[in-house]
Symmetry: D2
Subunit: 294 residues, 4 copies
């Protein structure tokens, strides 16, 4: 297939490699071109703008930072929509607001093109390894059309429903639950340490028993080793996703007390100079609150 | 080995069956004798008191409701300690306070006997199937002495450390983290439902990707099906464990904001007539807060 | 002075009466004209649009529901700015976002007119009685220019600073603290009642001792009598102000844990059918959580 | 009247002075005698034990640190009860648990003596000035009997009810609400400062309008000046009262979300070395969370 990809952050680059590896023709665009170097060396084609990129593609993937960035690369004179063919599909993989996805559904309907919302679970190393989990929502025929691409980038594809916003909300809830795992582990690890149990030992029991899931292994390890200063998913992005889930919840009149606690952690992290850290650094705040040094 | 077991609630009965199945000689005691019927039919012996039960055993397991019950069956004229031999081991499997385990260490030291704190993870069905996870702490020689029993009741044995209170605190943190999973899933499922995503679909994505751990499967299923009115672990016991982890945390000067949120849920559950429900019923409160009917 | 007033909700009408009473010439505008009837009978003049209203005034007061409403009546072809004289002052009394006030400062600077941000504390009865508290911020000469009006509507005028956004943030913090009083009293009254102390008795002690402030008298009385179903300040407006203070706090990287708790109350109130109630109805949720009936 | 007073902390000494000033005969007891020096100079009599102190008194006041201290000076061989006459009254002024007051009611009933629970609102300077607020509960005839003493120490006496525990719970709720004022002001002052409003200006508006109560003046001033390192009421005592109100609330199945937030502040304060500070130092934690320096 002929695929375009906009957004070459640490996630986008990993996804791009796997699309090339699967034998598709890939055109890429990014605000700063240097991020594309390794991909161009592997055979990817460079496009000068989202619009130029979209021309002639079967599908265009967007993997950008937030709502504003997605709007910027999609709409406007140089946006992808201006170049996208009527039967082509826009695969939106970014974690963005449910509201924006709703509005893009309408935009694509008018344009004649299709929208598949396909946010992914997994950190940059999973993206590089093609081990992402993809949660896709959109019309059945649209998903069928792009299934080879979705399968190329992930180890597993979930079809969430026929409405693109459904996948957006599943992704936001998923990230919310990851943030809850981080906060819970952060609190628990602080208590363990002060009560004379090494965090590694606590984790061994947890992940070896009923908490044996990647999310506990990954974040447990980051917390036990204090490795949260090297960002896999930067704290301001975590703060953004927290804001998005609270907004979605407010739009649907759903209180989320845990998200509120986590919100206060992220805001404090921003205030205390952790903008450059991984979002798991909120666990460091739990340690501080317990009087523990880093 | 010759084993005594005090406490035949739904957890204790399951444990007892597996000890018998492993070929040990088992003597049992419970406040009300009728709970012992099936075990006596399988060859267990009845004792008239904890003291009588303890006499001549290699090890005595206690699996009772709370701190008060553990003190009652351990200390006093008719307590197990009065009958326990000097080289025998007390295996405390109940979820109790770190402070009580600390005091029992001293009690056993004076008595000449050993204490192994060995709380378990798993619900009654896991106890019946011998599939519990056992987190044990105590002197290495004590654990070695009772290893066959610990292995008979669980699918996996974790050695947490040489100090019995270490296992108590690991168990409290584990239960705290389960309560966080319940609360998080309850909030997330309510949002999913109001945003047009079936909770089952949400769970399929979560447990099929990075949340693929028993704790998400078990509680996710209870929440998605609204099955929390049939108690596997009753809400007042959840409230008790929440109180214990907050007490342990306070003793060590560790704030636990998530445990505080969960505390308010449990207290409200008690006030609103959910004392007979499973502890996962706190997720029902999250549903109510979102204006959803049961 | 020649004064225009836009927005004849329960607060605006009270303010209008006091401006007339002080002898000023008053022109009014409201989306629905019937709210103006009593004022026209007292000598107020009707204007067909914000633009028409603004022409020839010394000052124009806006007292509207939210950011959107304030933008609508201020900007655009029929907005007040299109009619406002270069030396006239816009007195913004609505509770709106700090960000909007900032942008209006720039707008007025370009226009040559002045902006005084002058939000008020007090409920409709205080507005009717001219007993509001006015917190004003703006250039000293602008405040001097409109002082007679500010003094006509309030019992006391506070000059907060030279930057209009300063008054906006003081107002948001004030409303945040009122919401904290409501939540605290709601929790305390529920405990008092279940512990055998009549809420009236609790309030007598509190307001007769160190809590002797109007905010405790007013909201304590609403809570003790369950009078929160008759809105003086509707719950959705409370929810809006909570959102605004959380936004301002996020913009400045300030966590507000109490505001987060209150946020969850408001969202739940919206979900559970309390949109028509007074914002003090969040205290009813505290009662419910304690298992108390209304 | 002949009055005994046990407990010469900063509150007890102030109370003692005002009893002497009112012309009563005062006997005092304290764990360390040096605290009594100034009172003995004014004519107070020293007693060697609570029991010795209680003999021949019309009433004995206890003003001690916590439940344990109150039990210690009341019960046992050398406790006040052993010396107290059958028609004498025990006036318990300490902030203690509702549960302890309940048990003391029974103890005094068996003894033939009376119990008046009379906790006070006010800090040491108010105690010294005789400006405390006294919330008393007990049988009407008991309160009548000791009214002159209660009036000597306070500026105002509230009769809360006929059951001594009622006053205990009113006091706990009062202290809970003060802690809410501190937390709310701490959060609000941090936001004000980062948004360019001096905390003093914020306070001027608040206390000059609808928040014009001593509790806002006192704690607002402590927060605005950062004066919380000089303890009027030490943080561990605040933590204790928070624990007591949460316990009372749990006993009555009443969730207190605000008390839970404040609890986490106090626990963190203990962990971070603020045990020697005033309880208002939790506002310093709100500042820290916003990235502000002390």
């Amino acid at each position: 297939m002929k695929i375009g990809l906009i957004g070459l952050g640490s996630m986008g680059v990993g996804i791009a490699h796997n699309i090339l590896k699967a034998g598709h023709t890939l055109t890429v665009y990014n605000r700063s071109k240097d991020k594309a170097d390794s991909l161009l060396a592997e055979g990817a084609i460079w496009a000068a703008s989202p619009r130029a990129l979209a021309q002639g593609q079967d599908a265009v993937i967007t993997m950008v930072a937030d709502d504003n960035a997605l709007q910027a690369v999609t709409l406007g004179e140089e946006g992808l929509l201006a170049g996208l063919g009527q039967n082509a599909i826009h695969i939106s993989m970014s974690t963005v607001s449910q509201a924006l996805v709703e509005s893009l559904v309408a935009v694509h309907e008018r344009h004649g093109s299709g929208l598949v919302s396909a946010p992914v679970f997994g950190r940059p190393d999973a993206a590089a390894a093609g081990k992402l989990f993809v949660a896709a929502a959109g019309k059945a025929e649209h998903i069928t059309q792009v299934r080879p691409v979705l399968e190329a980038v992930g180890q597993k594809l979930f079809e969430v429903g026929e409405q693109p916003p459904q996948a957006a909300v599943v992704k936001l809830i998923g990230n919310f639950l990851i943030s809850c795992v981080i906060e819970g582990l952060g609190e628990g690890a602080a208590l363990a340490e002060k009560a004379g149990v090494a965090p590694e030992k606590l984790l061994e029991v947890l992940t070896g028993s009923i908490f044996g899931a990647p999310v506990y292994q990954i974040y447990g390890n980051l917390i036990a080793t204090g490795g949260y200063m090297k960002p896999g998913f930067a704290l301001p992005l975590g703060a953004k996703d927290n804001r998005l889930v609270l907004q979605a919840a407010e739009a649907h009149d759903v209180p989320l007390p845990f998200a509120s606690v986590v919100r206060d952690r992220f805001v404090r992290g921003m205030a205390q100079g952790l903008s450059g850290a991984d979002w798991s650094a909120i666990a460091r705040l739990a340690r501080e609150d317990a009087g523990l040094k880093h």
